[in-house]
C-alpha cells in the first residue's frame, strides 16, 4: 500500500489480487447477494484507491481495509433492514449463488442434511444484528483475533467477545434440532 501511495499502479493491481476475494466473500456472507457484494467491493477498492495519497501505516493494512469494508456492509444491511418487509427463506437463497457443498459427500441423505443445516445457519446469520454478523464472519472466515475485530468495529475486545458469544449462541440454537440429543437442551 505504501508503494501505491507513491503512485505505483502495478502495486494497486497486486493489492487487489491479494485481497479481492476475502473482501468479496465477506461482503457476500454479510448481504447474501453476490451482485450487491461485488458492487460494494468495487466501492471498497475505489475508496482504497482514492485514499492512497493520505494512507498512513498506523495499523495492519487488513484492519484498515476491513474497516472500510465493514462500514459499507453495515450501512447496506441497515438500509436494507429499513426497506424490506418480509423475505422468504427461498428468496434469500435464490439471491445468492447456487448452494455449493464440498464434493466429499457421496451419501445423498447426508448431503440433504448438510444442505438443511446450511440453510438454517444462513437464515440465522441473516437474522443476527449486523455487528454480531460482522464479528462472526470476521472471526470464522478471516481468522481474525479479537483485538483486530475490535479495531475494525471500533469497540473494545470485551465488547467483541460479547458480540461473538451472543452470535454463536444464536447459531447453535438454530442447529439444536439437528443434534442427536434433540432440541430440549437450553444453555445454562
Amino acid at each position: 500500500m505504501l508503494r501505491v501511495r507513491e503512485g505505483d499502479e502495478t502495486s494497486f493491481a497486486l493489492l487487489l489480487e491479494k485481497h479481492r476475494n476475502s473482501v468479496i466473500h465477506f461482503l457476500y456472507r454479510m448481504v447474501q447477494n453476490q451482485a450487491i457484494a461485488e458492487e460494494l467491493a468495487q466501492e471498497v477498492f475505489l475508496r482504497v484507491y482514492r485514499s492512497r495519497e493520505t494512507y498512513e501505516p498506523t495499523a495492519k493494512f487488513t484492519t484498515w481495509l476491513f474497516r472500510i469494508t465493514t462500514h459499507l456492509a453495515l450501512n447496506h444491511v441497515r438500509d436494507r433492514r429499513k426497506d424490506k418487509l418480509h423475505d422468504s427463506i427461498d428468496e434469500k437463497i435464490e439471491d445468492g449463488a447456487p448452494r455449493q457443498l464440498p464434493t466429499r459427500e457421496a451419501n445423498v441423505e447426508e448431503r440433504l442434511l448438510r444442505d438443511a443445516r446450511l440453510g438454517e445457519v444462513r437464515q440465522a446469520i441473516e437474522e443476527l444484528p449486523e455487528k454480531q454478523r460482522g464479528a462472526v464472519l470476521m472471526h470464522k472466515y478471516q481468522d481474525m483475533e479479537y483485538s483486530q475485530i475490535a479495531a475494525i468495529l471500533g469497540c473494545s475486545e470485551s465488547a467483541v467477545k460479547s458480540l461473538l458469544f451472543r452470535a454463536y449462541e444464536s447459531l447453535r440454537s438454530s442447529l439444536r434440532q439437528f443434534s442427536p440429543g434433540g432440541s430440549g437442551l437450553k444453555a445454562s
Partner: protein, 158 residues
C-alpha cells in the same frame, strides 16, 4: 446439569477449544471438565456443527470482469473534470481557509475603531504642540519687552 463455569467462561473456553487456540494446559483442563459436564459437551457438539455448516457455506465465483469494471471506474474518475474549488487539494484546506477568512473579516470590521483611537492620539499631540508654540511666543514677547526697558539706561551710563 448446571455447569460450574459462568456463562462468559463457558463461551470463551468453548470457542477457544473449538478453534484450537487454547494453550495446552488450558486445553487439558477443559477436556477434564468436559468429561464431567454434559452441558458443555453438548455445547461443543453444537459448536462443531455450526463450524462445519459455516465451512460448507462456499461463496460463488467472482464475475470475470470485476477487475475491468473497477479500473474503468478509476479511469473515469481520474478523467472527470474537477470542480473549480478542488485545485488538487481536495476538501482538507477548506476548514482552515474558512477560519482565516472569518478572522480577516473580523479584523476588517474592527479597523475603523482602531483609526479613531489613532486619530484621538493625533489630536492630543496637536494640542500639545500648539501650547508649546504659544509658550515660546510668550517668552519671545517678554524678552523683547525686557530688552526695550534696559537699552536707554545703558546710554545714560556712558
Amino acid at each position: 446439569m448446571n455447569c460450574i463455569l459462568n456463562t462468559n467462561e463457558q463461551e470463551e473456553l468453548l470457542l477457544g477449544y473449538c478453534t484450537a487456540i487454547l494453550d495446552p494446559e488450558t486445553t487439558r483442563t477443559y477436556k477434564r471438565h468436559l468429561a464431567s459436564c454434559e452441558h458443555c459437551r453438548t455445547m461443543v457438539e453444537l459448536q462443531k456443527m455450526v463450524d462445519e455448516s459455516l465451512g460448507d457455506w462456499l461463496p460463488p465465483t467472482l464475475s470475470e470482469n470485476f477487475d475491468q469494471k473497477l479500473f474503468a471506474r478509476i479511469r473515469a474518475e481520474q478523467e472527470a473534470p474537477k470542480p473549480w474549488w478542488h485545485f488538487n487539494f481536495g476538501w482538507k484546506p477548506a476548514i482552515p481557509l474558512a477560519l482565516a477568512a472569518i478572522l480577516l473579516a473580523v479584523f476588517l470590521v474592527r479597523e475603523p475603531g482602531k483609526s479613531e483611537l489613532a486619530q484621538q492620539q493625533d489630536g492630543i499631540k496637536a494640542d500639545e504642540i500648539a501650547e508649546v508654540e504659544k509658550a515660546l511666543d510668550d517668552m519671545e514677547a517678554l524678552q523683547a519687552l525686557s530688552t526695550a526697558d534696559t537699552a536707554p539706561a545703558a546710554k545714560e551710563s556712558i
